[in-house]
């Protein structure tokens, strides 16, 4: 019997090529093609300006330059603005940029001209020779400036407001007015960004013999890119293939499409009849990809003596940058996922999504949830401080209880579906977390440390994460006559180990050897119907689709094998790729079943001889029955009614240096519930990475824009992404496995979990150490030092809010 692989720490098959330097990332492709051309982009040095004139006359003199494009050279759909990918009725003033700026630039880094040359060095030389005459406009930088609206980013968008949205369940303001206690909090989060180690990149090749375009892109959605390229270049979809090769990290930014270069590279390849490559450099990634996180929040909460929230009213302001290609997904997620594991009796949320002359804002791992979690958890801590209660007790009072699932919040989630949690056990998670971090013993530890003149604090934060959003994913499973199983699913992979985790599912479902399964992702030639890899959805969506497709293949295999073995299907089992009649020696290889599934006219090897017309079939019947198809295949799609909701809780113990205000992590604990785990090793890796990204976001990373809209820290020298020296030396992880009833495997997503509660949990721990409220994140030692000075005269600075 085959060992069950679902749930096992199976080593990753993709590691072999990565460890040998044989991965194939987009910049590795076509390197030995002498016809390959390279592109570079002229980007705006100004945050806000009108383009008066662009002079490219010096460019073509340069040896090795092949072509240059500005907006004037674009025609048809290419000359129109880029698509607004996710429209929403409340996004009344959505704006997107042009592939190349038309007559105005709205952020430093916006693409203006596109140069193609024999190599990247020459292309960059050429870019430096383009002369642009600008008329400077005053930029809008930061949320305060956007809200003040003394000037606007777009002339036709009054007050910089792209959207205003409100949702309410119950009557929050009335409930707060009637509540025994109320508090008010103002909470800010700054900008950060995904910064995958590999930036964006696209290669395209036009084949004049077949009139086909092949595009390789470092994207989180091959099918999305394909649709956009076909539409913009006015090609039939059937003429465009998009392949996502190995991707050096995504974290959200690569789900945005089409990037200007993702269209300009194919356009250049088709126009010039030569393959073209564009690879983003690090500075370009900072100033021309996407950022996230910046929001200001105002909270009013009413609660009773136990800390039970009776009414919660949140208004927030979301900085979406210069354009809105990804719609309102981030602020909608904040507004709904803010609720976490709690059930405020009445909830109202309203936000404004605002334009600024800065890089666009689109989902970054967590996608609005870290901000929502920060708001809710700071509120819970404030209530506990106000009532003098233990912070875990206030949370327990507000938890949705295990017997209350499915739990309806009465709101609409980011996928347009009802916000309804499928399952969870929050009290059990909290109990595990308290145990793991030593919550109840902390006061002893604090006293011990205080005796040594050391200052420590503990914090916790809880979150619920909608994972596995629709609309769907599909899979195709093909059993070859060799017995090898080839599986295709359309979403892409950027480090999650899909080739391993999905093969585990196939091996179990079909009863084949893990080694015989090969998974392909992100190739529109193999699976043209797909959505993409984001929102912790790959395991849930493609994992389920692959399971269903494998079941279909299995069903057919059993039907054919039953005929061949003259047995009942019910008496058959499949293990290690062999179908056998239970309790007998009668058996047939799946490869042979595949041979039998496909009646042949021509024999090309020993196996196929067995399937030719003089060998098989009833001469009185059609070789392929009316309701059947040749081949041993299974194809299916998984489309859930709504998202699954994973959850987790983090706790951290920090030490703050009494003199330097340096913040050191002493212990980090995670309790995580993503339903059944396919591969616990991979899930823990995802948590480790998320926690590190969260540490960066809470303590180090920010986008330092000056008042003129220049990003001052657009390099890895100045943007402080954590090295090993900044992350916790260990992360204690405990799992709870509350299965989702929404999919056949009972799984929920895990990709974003590690990063969601970071700002909240660090703010809580630092506040606990220092005794004054922490209301803005990230926080640096110098900011903490300033706060100490500001609070130096307060007698009992424990309550983090104003209150009444």
């Amino acid at each position: 019997m085959t060992t069950k692989l679902f749930g096992a720490k199976v080593p990753r098959v993709e590691d072999q090529r990565f460890l040998r330097g044989q991965g194939r990332y987009v910049d590795d492709l076509l390197t030995d093609d002498p016809r390959l051309l390279h592109a570079a982009v002229l980007r705006s040095p100004h945050a806000h300006a009108r383009i008066v004139d662009i002079d490219v006359s010096d460019v073509l003199d340069l040896d090795g330059v092949v072509a240059v494009w500005t907006w004037d050279d674009l025609t048809g759909p290419m000359a129109e603005p880029l698509p607004l990918l996710i429209p929403h009725p409340t996004l009344t003033h959505g704006r997107t940029q042009y592939a190349l700026a038309r007559d105005e630039v709205n952020y430093v880094g916006e693409a203006i001209a596109f140069v193609v040359a024999v190599d990247r060095y020459v292309a960059e030389d050429a870019v430096a020779r383009i002369r642009v005459d600008y008329e400077h406009l005053e930029p809008v930088v930061g949320i305060d400036a956007a809200r003040a609206a003394r000037r606007t980013v777009h002339d036709d968008v009054p007050d910089n407001v792209g959207a205003r949205m409100e949702q309410e369940n119950g009557d929050a303001r009335a409930a707060i007015a009637a509540a025994p206690h109320t508090l008010t909090l103002d909470l800010d989060i700054e900008r950060s960004a995904c910064t995958p180690m590999e930036g964006r990149g696209t290669v395209a090749r036009w084949d004049p013999d077949t009139s086909r375009l092949t595009v390789w892109s470092s994207t989180q959605t091959s099918t999305g890119v394909r649709g956009c390229v076909a539409a913009k270049l006015e090609l039939d979809l059937a003429k465009v293939d998009v392949i996502t090769p190995d991707v050096g990290g995504g974290f959200g930014v690569k789900v945005v499409h089409p990037w200007p270069e993702e269209l300009l590279v194919p356009l250049a390849a088709k126009t010039l009849g030569r393959p073209v490559k564009y690879t983003e450099d690090r500075r370009e990634h900072f100033i021309s990809s996407a950022h996230e996180r910046a929001q200001q929040h105002h909270v009013e909460v009413g609660f009773d003596d136990d800390g039970r929230v009776l009414g919660l009213d949140v208004e927030f302001w979301h900085d979406h940058g210069a354009y809105t290609p990804y719609g309102l997904i981030v602020p909608i997620i904040t507004s709904t996922q803010l609720l976490g594991p709690y059930k405020p009796q009445n909830y109202r949320v309203a936000f404004e999504s605002l334009y600024t002359n800065t890089v666009i804002v689109t989902p970054y791992r967590g996608a609005g949830r870290p901000q929502g979690c920060f708001v809710m958890e700071r509120t819970m801590d404030a209530i506990a401080a106000y009532l003098g209660k233990d912070r875990t007790e206030v949370r327990s009072t507000n938890f949705i209880q295990p017997d209350e699932f499915p739990y309806e919040h009465g709101l609409v989630f980011q996928d347009g579906r009802e916000l309804t949690y499928d399952s969870g056990d929050y009290p059990a998670s909290l109990a595990k977390l308290k145990e793991l971090v030593g919550w109840d013993e902390f006061e002893e530890f604090r006293a011990e440390m205080a005796a040594q003149g050391r200052k420590v604090g503990i914090g916790l934060a809880c979150y619920v994460e909608g994972t596995g959003v629709g609309p769907y994913e599909g899979a195709h499973v093909h059993i070859e006559t060799s017995g090898k199983v080839k599986v295709a699913t359309g979403l892409t992979t950027q480090g999650q180990g899909h080739q391993t985790a999905f093969a585990q599912i196939v091996a179990d479902t079909l009863g084949v050897r893990f080694e015989d399964v090969e998974i392909t992702t992100g190739d529109t030639r193999k699976m043209p119907y797909a959505v993409g890899t984001f929102a912790s959805r790959a395991a849930v969506m493609s994992g389920s689709a692959i399971h269903l497709a494998a079941l279909r293949a299995k069903e057919k295999a059993l039907r054919i094998a039953a005929e061949a073995l003259e047995a009942s299907e019910d008496d058959l089992e499949i293990a290690d790729g062999v179908v056998s009649v239970k309790g007998t020696d009668a058996s047939i290889d799946l490869g042979t079943v595949a041979v039998l599934s496909n009646p042949l006219r021509y024999a090309f090897d020993e196996a196929s001889k067995a399937a030719t017309q003089f060998s098989v079939g009833d001469p009185g019947k059609p070789p392929v029955a009316e309701d059947d198809e040749p081949g041993l295949e299974g194809k299916d799609f998984y489309s859930p009614p709504r998202s699954t909701f994973a959850n987790g809780m983090h706790a951290v113990i920090v030490e703050t240096d009494p003199d330097t205000a340096e913040i050191t992590i002493l212990k980090y604990a995670v309790v995580h519930d993503c339903g059944h785990l396919i591969n616990p090793m991979i899930v823990e890796g995802q948590i480790h990475g998320g926690v590190a990204q969260g540490v960066g976001g809470a303590l180090y990373e920010r986008m330092a824009y000056d008042e003129s809209g220049q990003l001052l820290n657009a390099s890895f020298m100045d943007f402080l992404m954590p090295y090993v020296t900044e992350v916790p030396t260990s992360i204690d992880i405990d799992h709870l496995e509350t299965p989702s009833p929404l999919n056949p495997l009972g799984i929920k997503g895990a990709g974003e979990a590690g990063v969601i509660p970071s700002a909240a949990v660090f703010a809580a721990a630092i506040e606990d150490a220092e005794g004054f409220p922490i209301t803005a994140m990230p926080i640096s030692p110098s900011e903490l030092f300033e706060l100490r000075l500001a609070h130096a005269d307060e007698p009992h600075p424990t309550s983090p809010s104003l209150g009444s």
């Binding site: 080593p11 990753r12 993709e14 590691d15 072999q16 090529r17 990565f18 460890l19 040998r20 330097g21 044989q22 991965g23 194939r24 990332y25 910049d27 590795d28 390197t31 010096d58 003199d61 340069l62 040896d63 190599d119 990247r120 060095y121 030389d125 020779r129 995904c194 910064t195 995958p196 180690m197 590999e198 190995d246 991707v247 050096g248 990290g249 974290f251 450099d281 690090r282 480090g495 999650q496 823990e684 890796g685 948590i687 480790h688 990475g689 998320g690 590190a692 990204q693 390099s715 890895f716 020298m717 992404m721 090295y723 090993v724 020296t725 992350v727 030396t729 260990s730 992360i731 590690g754």
Partner: protein, 170 residues
């Protein structure tokens, strides 16, 4: 603006992973680009081009060097080892490579070649690192996926594999 004079090209002989590559490059060609584009050794990755991330780390005469901060023309007389050259002669993984597989020390794999080369050199210098020394050994390389937990474990595991192999040989 007048047209600049065409760039002078230099014949450069690079010794990489025991093979000789004759390349014809301008003086400004980075070693990282020469390895990737002229020698076809795309295992060396470029993550920042300003010497901070360490993804492009290769061994130059056994010492870890950021190949984005070195010109190809200045690597002429050196013996260069890239990630492709770490694998054993029989095609099996080196102790460091094997340790990364054992410990799930990589996710997207983009930064991995730089870690592998840096650790290979580090263990040469210190074959039996403590956990702190292991952390120190990788403290100059950035990874956005793993949170470094399993990379530190991989360093310790690699030292263990090397020690076991050494015992078998002696």
């Amino acid at each position: 603006m007048s047209a600049p004079t065409p760039e002078e090209l230099h014949d450069v002989r690079l010794h990489v992973n025991g093979s000789v590559h004759e390349v014809h490059v301008p003086a400004r060609r980075l070693l990282s680009d020469a390895l990737r584009h002229d020698c076809g050794l795309t295992g060396t990755h470029v993550g920042c081009e300003h010497g901070v991330c360490g993804a492009c780390t290769v061994l130059v005469d056994g010492r870890p060097v950021r190949s984005c901060l070195m010109l190809a023309v200045s690597a002429v007389d050196s013996e260069i080892t890239t990630v492709e050259g770490l694998t054993e002669a029989d095609g099996s993984l080196s102790p460091v490579q094997q340790a990364f597989s054992d410990c799930h020390g990589l996710q997207c794999g983009f930064c991995t070649p730089g870690f592998l080369t840096a650790i290979t050199a580090g263990l040469e210098e210190n074959p039996d690192p403590t956990e702190d020394e292991a952390r120190e050994m990788v403290a100059g390389n950035l990874c956005r996926c793993t949170g470094y937990q399993n990379i530190v474990k991989s360093v310790l595991r690699a030292a263990e594999i090397q020690a076991e192999a050494g015992q078998e040989r002696s």
